[in-house]
């Protein structure tokens, strides 16, 4: 939310740069996203870190963070085979030409890799939206559907090991960061949809979308259908429910107000009756003195 707020403030023209932006985003990786291929895919070997094509950066990043980002980026290639583990990170470090000892310097090792991946996916999503993902002709619920779909498709190459990533994210030590990342993701999605006129509260909107996203993500883990068709159907149903929920909540609000009015009237009547009774009784008793 901090990033999108900053974007709004500074205008859409500026390219946003995150502190953890990697210097390589493997081109083969992005092309795989477009074709949304299933299963394990081989990535072409990167020839080494390229400093060119970095884009305008606001702050000069300290060298070790860049190096760590490079190692994490290279480690992603090994995840499908080795899982979200230190071994994958060590293999990644060897690819970059750095001693595997560097893995020891990551706090919460495997979590660092998962978090890096989540950040990268968010950045990719933002880029896709910026570079013209077609959202104009769709109604809000379809836009949400499409965004969630685009984001979940980024996980397809890692789907076999994704349960491990989820369990890493659920670890108490890692929950604060993973929660924040998901919150940012959901916020970004709503921002891209255009935050259209809606009666729902800001928090409720994000919670609902968070729920939709998480359930779809988990559904996808056990989906065997070609091109994850069933997952997308599930997603569409959930989004529809969520939007129906909005109407239902509105109706429920009015209903509650009516009930409240009714109950309030009858309660008031009751209290009046009680007061009257007490005053007459009190009057009678006082008269006996």
């Amino acid at each position: 939310m901090y990033r999108t707020a900053a974007k709004r403030l500074l205008g859409a023209g500026l390219t946003t740069s995150r502190l953890l932006r990697s210097t390589i985003i493997p081109s083969s990786y992005t092309s795989n996203l477009c074709t949304s291929s299933m299963g394990h895919t081989e990535f072409s070997n990167q020839s080494g870190p390229t400093a060119a094509g970095e884009g305008p950066r606001r702050k000069p990043r300290p060298e070790f963070e860049e190096e760590q980002a490079r190692v994490l980026s290279a480690s992603l290639r090994h995840v499908a085979r080795l899982g979200w583990t230190e071994e994958a990170m060590m293999a990644g470090s060897r690819d970059v030409g750095v001693s595997p000892s560097i893995v020891g310097s990551f706090s919460r090792k495997e979590a660092a890799l998962v978090e890096y991946f989540m950040d990268e996916c968010l950045q990719l999503l933002v880029d896709r939206v910026d570079s013209g993902l077609d959202l104009q002709n769709l109604i809000p619920s379809e836009r949400i559907s499409k965004l969630v779909r685009v984001r979940l498709e980024m996980q397809v190459p890692y789907i076999s090991k994704w349960p491990q990533a989820l369990s890493i994210q659920a670890h108490p030590v890692n929950v604060p960061t993973s929660f924040k990342q998901r919150a940012m993701l959901v916020d970004e999605m709503w921002h891209s949809v255009g935050d259209g006129a809606s009666d729902l509260d800001w928090y409720v909107k994000r919670t609902v979308l968070g729920g939709v996203y998480s359930t779809t993500e988990i559904y996808m883990l056990t989906d065997d259908s070609p091109e994850y068709r069933e997952t997308w159907e599930f997603l569409d149903d959930r989004v529809k429910d969520a939007f129906d929920l909005k109407k239902s909540i509105q109706e429920a609000k009015y209903f509650a107000q009516d009930i409240g009015a009714g109950v309030g009237k009858s309660f008031q009547g009751l209290m009046n009756g009680v007061m009257q009774t007490m005053s007459t009784r009190g009057g009678r008793s006082s008269s006996s003195f």
Partner: protein, 314 residues
């Protein structure tokens, strides 16, 4: 008590090559600080205090050339009771500290590690265990490249300490193990090749080195790119009441213990005095950064009685 001072933001320092110290002529270094950046003005004071470390033997002033010999004598005297005295002085805590050090290192199979001033082998044995017991199961999943032999070099300037270490290795049944290599050498002039080590640890040793910056420069030289430097050392306590308790314990209790158990009051007097003369945590972190290391952090244990400094060579 366990205080962690770790850093998130960094500062890049570009220094011009002023000063005579060769380590200060490095082009780019970064220091990790917790709160924002702080420009360090160029330190003439640091040169003075480094010089003072080189000529201080505890609270005495000695000639630079002599310090090494004096320290050598200390350790020759204490070698046989070194481990027992450690247990008694720290109440067994030194074991936890060393466990923490090795935990931070995250040893892996196939690593080349150098433990300097590790005479009796405490840290080396722990690394050996870490690599060979649990992680061996994970080895099956690992690339062929890492199936090279793990090599742990234990380097110490004092042959007596090394002998105690070799003896302990033999007792554990590791006497013939090729992974553990005992080398006699000087931390200021290591006999290892450049860029040959994945890890470098020095536990309770850097205090005894005459020229700390030389030891740090050597550490930088032998480490590979991405290699980690870890230093476990007795350090400075700042917490008000606890500081006084610690001082009392250091100056009143420890030399007496030394006399009682090791029969050597002077060596332990030297020990507690040398702790006070050693640069405090931040200062030492600066020195590590000066040697060219990146991501320099330190963690205080027991309120600062012990600090683990860590850094990466990039």
């Amino acid at each position: 008590m366990h205080l962690t001072s770790r850093a998130d933001s960094s500062l890049s320092l570009v220094s011009s090559s002023q000063g005579t110290n060769f380590t200060e002529a490095m082009a780019l270094r970064s220091i990790s600080r917790r709160f924002g950046s702080r420009v360090l003005s160029y330190r003439s004071s640091s040169v003075a205090s480094l010089h003072s470390h080189a000529t201080s033997f505890g609270f005495q002033q000695v000639k630079e050339e002599e310090k090494s010999k004096l320290v050598g004598n200390v350790f020759t005297n204490v070698a046989s009771s070194y481990d027992i005295m450690n247990d008694v002085m720290s109440g067994g805590l030194h074991r936890l500290w060393k466990e923490r050090l090795v935990g931070k290192l995250s040893p892996f199979a196939g690593m080349k590690h150098l433990d300097v001033a590790g005479g009796t082998g405490d840290v080396a044995f722990r690394i050996f265990d870490a690599v060979n017991s649990v992680k061996r199961r994970a080895l099956r999943k690992v690339d062929e490249a890492s199936l090279e032999e793990t090599q742990i070099y234990v380097c110490d300037i004092n042959p007596n300490m090394l002998n105690v270490g070799k003896q302990r290795a033999a007792e554990r049944g590791l006497g013939d193990n090729k992974s553990l290599v005992w080398v006699e050498g000087d931390a200021e002039a290591l006999s290892f090749d450049d860029n040959s080590m994945d890890g470098y640890t020095i536990a309770f040793g850097i205090r005894n080195v005459t020229h700390i910056e030389k030891a740090l420069a050597e550490a930088y030289r032998v480490l590979k790119r991405g290699g980690r430097f870890l230093c476990l050392e007795l350090s400075h306590v700042d917490i008000p009441v606890f500081k006084d308790v610690y001082d009392l314990y250091s100056f009143k209790v420890i030399p007496n213990l030394g006399e009682l158990i090791a029969g050597d009051r002077e060596s332990y007097q030297y020990l507690v005095e040398s702790v006070r003369r050693f640069p405090p945590q931040e200062k030492f972190a600066t020195m590590i950064a000066d040697a060219g290391f990146e991501k320099v952090e330190y963690e205080n244990l027991v309120g600062g009685v012990v600090a683990i400094h860590s850094a990466i060579k990039l």
